[in-house]
């Protein structure tokens, strides 16, 4: 059962994170999300290619947290770079559905994100896997409102 939680792909993202960086040149938005009850802290920076249809040009994350939260943020960045904002939001909704044990429509588009499906069996860890995706949705919403930063504290059930 532990193998469902710590899938090899998840451990790989934890040990060798993708798009993890403290800064992003010409970033349009920076959001900070934290979960004080488990102590996860996540910074996410987004740069948008604002053409006729806005597209995610770059996204980086940084922070402190458990392997699930950090690896999920890493896998998320690979799945959304190059996507239109609305498409990335749709994918985030799909990931959330998967975390609640619902059918996944865009299995292939989630790339390594699909490896997190087993986390759904560990209810107390679901919020860890969702942290990066929630930060992404917030960053897109913040951008669309014309703002450049936001901070969110997630109050969850204590472990």
């Amino acid at each position: 059962m532990t193998e469902d939680l710590y899938h090899d792909i998840i451990l790989d993202h934890y040990r060798a994170p993708r798009n993890r960086a403290p800064e992003l040149e010409n970033a349009d938005v920076r959001v900070h999300h934290n979960n004080p009850l488990c102590g996860d802290e996540l910074d996410l920076r987004l740069r948008v290619d604002n053409g006729e249809v806005p597209v995610i040009d770059a996204v980086v994350y940084d922070g402190e947290g458990c392997s699930i939260s950090m690896a999920s943020a890493s896998a998320m960045t690979e799945a959304v770079i190059g996507r239109e904002l609305s498409d990335a939001e749709d994918l985030a909704r799909d990931f959330r559905a998967m975390m609640h044990g619902e059918p996944v429509g865009r299995e292939d588009d989630l790339l390594d994100g699909i490896a997190f499906s087993g986390v759904a069996k560990f209810p107390v860890r679901v919020k860890c896997a969702l942290l990066g995706w929630m930060a992404l949705r917030d960053a897109i919403a913040t951008f669309e409102q014309g703002a450049d930063s936001n901070r969110v504290t997630h109050e969850e059930t204590p472990l």
Partner: protein, 414 residues
């Protein structure tokens, strides 16, 4: 000296396996396991003399009342407390709330200081903060030093200002195990202000070392049943009876009254004035059996056993590369609840891998966020030992840490 091999047979749960491995239970600071003797006492109430207490004249009611009051007497002896001051609550948290909502509003006001420490469990912080909003006294904190002790210089300075009306302090930290010099702190507070009272959190100390309420200098002592081999659902407030007599009731209802008319009520004598409604009867009787069990072992023996185990544990863990043991390292000044960190690993990941190995540890903030923050952490992993733990359990913990390090090994260091 404890005969641990024999006493382990009293704990049915220790025979079970977790994820196909023998259970290594290192979370007694959260909840202790229950010996058969306590289970039998609870079962005996339900199978032979289940009835409400202090009411009715039939045989079962009389037997239930006698067993319930016998348990109160045993708890009083165990704490060296006056039996008239022993109130059964649902947990230690309720005992703190009773003091906060009954004693504090009629005894404290603006200008008074309620002194707590940064080491406290939330149960010994939040009730004071809540009642502060209604009453308007000040709350000050004794800070914690880098090695997990109270900063007694700051304590002296705060007390010296003459405003401390209530000191609330834990006798033993639930996170880093520190045993605090409660008796001398109580003496100091009273020397400056003779109307000050001292509230001692005994939730961690009472199960693990001999307790003498007067020697501690405690006016109020709070303890928890399920951390001392007893059932959940019962806690204890031990108080000086003359304090209880002057305090207004906390909860109203049956049992706590002398007379009730349409115009008002008069109240029962102590401690019954503070036991509104049907009390946790089976749980209190079970707690009485737990006290018998611990007395049978001898609390000096319990303390000596845990001092040896925690000494061996700290020696083993400090020898592992990348492991930090929080709090004092000298077993003579600490109990057997120990927090540790592994470089670069989150406690929730550590706890999950440990669980796979059958080792039950606690990961989180242990309801003591101000203390955990002082360690520079947001969460820790905690192993805590009790009478049924052995040197093999210490070895299992050390092995679990090595396995955890290996499992997450190769993580890119940034």
């Amino acid at each position: 000296m404890l005969d641990v091999t024999t006493l382990r047979k009293d704990f049915p749960v220790l025979e079970r396996q977790v994820h196909g491995r023998p259970l290594v239970y290192l979370d007694s600071a959260a909840t202790s396991q229950t010996p058969q003797q306590v289970l039998d006492a609870v079962d005996g109430y339900y199978t032979r003399y289940c009835a409400n207490v202090h009411r009715g004249v039939h045989a079962l009611a009389e037997e239930a009342t006698a067993a319930f009051e016998h348990a109160r007497g045993r708890v009083a002896q165990f704490l060296r407390a006056d039996v008239r001051g022993v109130v059964f609550t649902k947990n230690a948290t309720e005992a703190f709330n009773l003091i906060a909502y009954s004693w504090v509003p009629s005894n404290m006001g603006p200008g008074d200081v309620l002194l707590v420490t940064q080491m406290e469990h939330h149960a010994n912080l939040v009730p004071w903060q809540l009642v502060q909003q209604q009453v308007g006294f000040d709350i000050e904190y004794v800070p914690v030093t880098g090695d997990g002790r109270l900063d007694l210089d700051v304590f002296d300075e705060i007390v010296g200002r003459g405003k401390v009306k209530l000191l609330a302090v834990t006798a033993m930290s639930n996170v880093v195990g520190t045993i605090n010099p409660v008796a001398s702190m109580a003496e100091r507070v009273r020397a400056v202000r003779d109307d000050a009272v001292v509230v001692v959190d005994g939730a961690q100390s009472v199960p693990h070392m001999p307790t003498d309420m007067a020697a501690l200098g405690a006016d109020f002592l709070c303890a928890s049943g399920h951390k001392m081999l007893g059932p959940t659902g019962v806690g204890v407030l031990a108080a000086r009876p003359e304090l209880l007599e002057r305090m207004p009731p906390f909860l109203g209802g049956g049992e706590m009254i002398a007379d009730v008319t349409m115009q008002g009520s008069t109240f029962n004598e102590v401690p019954y004035k503070f036991e509104a409604g049907t009390p946790p009867i089976a749980e209190a009787i079970g707690l009485g059996a737990a006290v018998d069990y611990l007395d049978g072992l001898g609390m000096d023996n319990v303390r000596a056993h845990e001092e040896r185990l925690i000494g061996a544990c700290i020696a083993a863990l400090t020898g592992i590369d990348g492991v930090t043991v929080h709090g004092p390292h000298d077993p003579a000044v600490r109990g057997a609840a120990m927090s540790f960190a592994i470089d670069g690993l989150h406690p929730h990941d550590i706890g999950t891998i440990m669980d796979r190995e059958g080792v039950a540890v606690r990961a989180g903030h242990h309801c003591a966020k101000p203390l955990v923050r002082s360690l520079g952490a947001v969460a820790t992993t905690r192993a805590s030992f009790y009478v049924y733990n052995t040197a093999d359990d210490v070895a299992a913990l050390a092995r679990g840490i090595e396995i955890t390090k290996e499992f997450f090994g190769g993580r890119m260091v940034r």
